[in-house]
């Protein structure tokens, strides 16, 4: 029943998008497209992506942990184990930590952003998803590093504030070079006229 409902919504969404495209509705097409892609991505793909992504994040973060000796990774379970003197803490990489929301958000915006050609979107998607993945791994490494250095009591501050700011700064970098700079460089100037048509 639910699947049929989603399929119906998907058809309506595609039709509305197609109509907006023909009606040259610029921003509405972009909003409807990217928000729709994000929502359908969350509903349809998210459940299938989260588990492998959790493992991948904890595996790659585990390499950093083992190389530095700060923490151990049990990537099959998506768990990181940080030992700090007599204290210890295990971190579970849940769907929030997996970076899946950030990746879907980025891709949804990119695929409806009118600055790029199709082949550019493919290339930028691969680079962008990879960049978000690495930023997320570094974010988790940062949390573990702070716990390792300052003990378990730093966990909330590290996770909620410091790591979030770090990840946001990384995202802003990515968004600047993917959305802002290309638009400014390619911005057309001089076609300006007073009449509407």
């Amino acid at each position: 029943m639910m699947n049929w409902f989603i399929a119906l919504l998907l058809i309506v969404w595609v039709y509305v998008l197609y109509t907006m495209k023909r009606a040259e509705m610029g921003v509405w097409y972009f909003l409807c497209g990217s928000v729709g892609l994000f929502v359908f991505g969350m509903v349809i793909f998210e459940p299938h992506i989260v588990a492998p992504l959790q493992k991948a994040v904890s595996a790659v973060a585990g390499i950093l942990g083992e190389a530095t000796g700060i923490y151990d990774s049990y990537f099959q379970q998506g768990i990181l184990f940080v030992q700090n003197g007599t204290e210890s803490l295990s971190l579970y990489i849940d769907f929030e930590c997996s970076g899946v929301i950030e990746m879907l958000a980025f891709l949804s915006l990119l695929w409806f952003f009118p600055v790029y050609e199709l082949y550019e979107k493919v290339v930028v998607s691969i680079i962008g998803v990879f960049a978000i993945f690495i930023a997320n791994v570094l974010r988790i490494f940062l949390i573990c590093l702070l716990i390792y250095a300052f003990g378990n009591q730093i966990y909330f501050v590290a996770h909620t504030i410091i790591a979030r700011i770090f990840f946001y700064v990384c995202s802003v970098f990515l968004y600047f070079y993917v959305f802002t700079k290309p638009q400014i460089v390619r911005q057309k100037v001089g076609a300006f006229h007073y009449d509407r048509d």
Partner: protein, 458 residues
């Protein structure tokens, strides 16, 4: 007690998770602005009254201005600045109405003013450039024909130039006209206009006022700006390719020539309040796309996120207006999605309320500053002070404007710029037309089947 503390900590931590970014990016900088504005208000050199006031040129582009031009010129006539020192140039921008007759009437009624009429090609920039070549006097001032000057505005702006030698370009303070706001009959529109008034107060008396302190004014207002003649004539004049010629000339003077650009907080020019939400939608798109055009002309490939963010305010403006807009937009929707997945709705609502309260607090700080800067205009200050509730409503207005500006970002990519883009109503009308055509085909098939069935029955 421990349980309460833990509950409090976990709730606060959850809120912080959501509000940390807007807190750092918007609210904390506003607190910084607040103290800089206080310093600007209370610690500044006193101006010495000039012995002799200089001759000034006033340039007014005219395009279908018959309804507003008379009041505009009358406000100059009634200004504190001596009439005989003002040379007014009305630059006809291929007007199609009776503006010329209004000019003739003004010549008769205000004989102390020297008013000339010049014919220019279409386009505000071309009109302004023509007038610049014909200008006279030490300072050149531009005003739009659809607004009125506050009586002290011209004197205050000249006084600022005369006392601060390093300032070469000044923007006046633009506010929407309170009298016209009060005349609006529709209560919803009137409230909307009051919020727009509050926004203008913030944009000039707080925003540009603060930027003025750091020589980081992004754009002087095209509606009321003034230049030393020596500075503006050394520039490349007004650019005709962009919809934001005012931003372009600001960049030329500030970045190209390295001169100081400032706001004169007590030189006020009143413009008409917005007529409809659709009009605001079009206007803000134009401003946003103009900003991006000028960025393209001056910044181009020199944009660098890391270095620029700390060393170049232009890059910071671009990040605030463009880069942050994308994650912000998608996160509004993600927040709704999270509520459907597994997040407790109550916590999401609480954090939104918390965020709203923070924005209101930031508005309160700016409200205090604006009241201080309006000290010499008692009526205006009283009017603004009585609108205290805008502190709590402006976040909603800003939220709406965010979407309009976002539309400007996306729609400007198309490449063809017109002064008047389609408004939201027209966009949805064309959506309806396309959909109607689609369904007309289906309707025809259905009616054909119905006819067939009916014929068979007969």
């Amino acid at each position: 007690m421990t349980a309460i503390k833990e509950f409090f900590m976990s709730s606060v931590m959850f809120w912080i998770a959501w509000i940390i970014i807007p807190l750092i990016m918007e609210v904390i900088p506003t607190i910084g602005d607040f103290f800089i504005l206080l310093k600007r208000k209370f610690i500044r050199a006193k101006y010495v009254k000039p012995h002799d006031l200089p001759q000034i040129s006033l340039i007014i582009p005219v395009y279908n201005s018959e309804d507003t031009l008379y009041e505009c010129i009358r406000s100059i006539h009634e200004s504190e600045y001596p009439n005989e020192l003002i040379y007014i140039m009305l630059v006809n921008n291929m007007t199609k109405d009776n503006s010329f007759q209004v000019f003739c009437k003004c010549q008769e009624e205000f004989p102390t003013l020297k008013i000339n009429w010049l014919n220019a090609k279409q386009g505000k920039s071309k009109a302004l450039n023509l007038a610049l070549f014909n200008s006279d006097g030490k300072y050149i001032i531009h005003i739009d024909s659809d607004g009125v000057l506050e009586p002290h505005a011209l004197y205050n702006i000249v006084n600022m130039f005369e006392n601060e030698d390093d300032i070469h370009c000044v923007t006046g303070t633009i506010l929407t006209n309170p009298k016209l706001i009060d005349q609006t009959k529709n209560p919803f529109m009137r409230l909307f206009q009051k919020l727009e008034f509050g926004e203008y107060c913030q944009a000039f008396l707080a925003g540009r006022n603060f930027q003025s302190e750091l020589n980081s004014i992004f754009t002087v207002s095209g509606a009321f700006s003034a230049f030393r003649k020596s500075a503006i004539l050394k520039s490349q004049l007004y650019n005709t390719d962009t919809v934001c010629e005012d931003t372009h000339v600001t960049f030329q003077i500030r970045d190209g020539m390295g001169k100081k650009v400032a706001l004169c907080p007590n030189a006020i020019f009143f413009v008409d309040p917005i007529g409809s939400v659709n009009q605001l939608y079009v206007q803000r798109q134009r401003w946003q796309s103009g900003e991006l055009e000028v960025m393209h002309m001056f910044m181009g490939k020199r944009l660098n996120a890391a270095r620029g963010f700390f060393s170049d305010f232009v890059v910071r403006v671009l990040m605030y207006d463009h880069t942050f807009a994308f994650p912000r937009m998608i996160w509004y929707f993600a927040l709704i999605c999270l509520a459907f997945i597994n997040y407790p709705m109550s916590l999401i609502v609480q954090s939104v309320i918390f965020m709203y309260a923070m924005y209101s607090f930031a508005n309160l700080l700016l409200y205090i500053c604006i009241i201080l800067f309006l000290k010499e205009f008692k009526d205006l200050r009283g009017y603004y002070a009585r609108k205290w509730y805008i502190i709590f409503l402006l976040p909603i207005f800003n939220f709406i404007v965010f979407w309009f500006r976002f539309a400007g970002i996306i729609n400007s990519i198309k490449g063809t710029q017109t002064w008047q883009v389609r408004n939201a109503k027209e966009e949805w009308q064309s959506f309806g037309e396309v959909a109607e055509k689609d369904f007309a085909g289906i309707g025809r098939i259905i009616s054909r089947i119905r006819d067939e069935v009916n014929e068979n029955e007969e």
